[in-house]
Symmetry: C2
Subunit: 190 residues, 2 copies
Amino acid sequence: MVKVYLAGPEVFLSNARMILARKAELARAAGFTPLVPGDLAIPETNSKRERGVAISGVNEGMMRHADLIIANLTPFRGISADVGTVFELGFMCGLGRPVYAYTNSARGYFERALHDYYGGRVAKRPDGATAGPDGLSIEDFDMADNLMLDGGIETRGGTFVRRPVPEAERFTNLQAFEECLAIAARRHLA
Amino acid sequence: MVKVYLAGPEVFLSNARMILARKAELARAAGFTPLVPGDLAIPETNSKRERGVAISGVNEGMMRHADLIIANLTPFRGISADVGTVFELGFMCGLGRPVYAYTNSARGYFERALHDYYGGRVAKRPDGATAGPDGLSIEDFDMADNLMLDGGIETRGGTFVRRPVPEAERFTNLQAFEECLAIAARRHLA
């Protein structure tokens, strides 16, 4: 049984349980045992903060038991991936496990920063970097997101699938996820 | 020699070298050997993308040699921390190394999402969660950022220092960084 941890911001959707159940079902159909955030009971706690720490602990525990991760890095509340998912991607890289990711955004980080964040108001700095009015350079490496994400995936032989979807399906379309599953299945299932 | 990896979005500043040199100097003054992104030469490559992957590899190598990390999780181009830094925080947690972090934003994630991202246009969902007009719930755990970040730091006994600074000093004020250094020095230096 090869266990795959399904990371992503789906937990914030109003129909989170349905989407996560669908992802788990697809993972099983591909031959994996899915480990899904929210599937384990959270111990009783005395404050909101303690509860947050408890959930973090449960998720870290699931990742330790997982053989690989498939992370949904679709931009979330801004121009980059959900930081919770990014933490998990980094965590699995640190553990030395195979990592796969996908994004439902077709455009790369440079384009999103330039158009969506700065509204095109960028200029060349004296050092040659393209920067916003705040002076911060925009990294330009033909990547879907920050180089630590794309680089971390590529370095360990993973795949980062980029597939555009209609805006209304940004967090529910599972085509790119299925593509990740198929790639991971070929590599990790006998 | 205890080696500390200095993670943060300072690399994007126009005066990156100056700020990073100052952070390294403060780390040395506290008794650490600083490992700073950008300090090692990047191998020659044939494309922007290859260069990004090469930088990622150099940064991962530095982290493997580091005994601990101090991560600047000040919100970057949005309401959460820089995803590159978050990847590095997760990576060090996966490696089992001590982690420390700071943010120059006094407000927590819930407040930033509610006010800065949704402009106050939030409502209770039938499941009791506070959500934006896009239906996505806002996590509310009295934390500085996503629970995987705050939780991951707290679980391993680290500290996440939160200190407000004037907006103009958002990425250059090093008071919270110095506080992290002092805490880490007490714990990790004889």
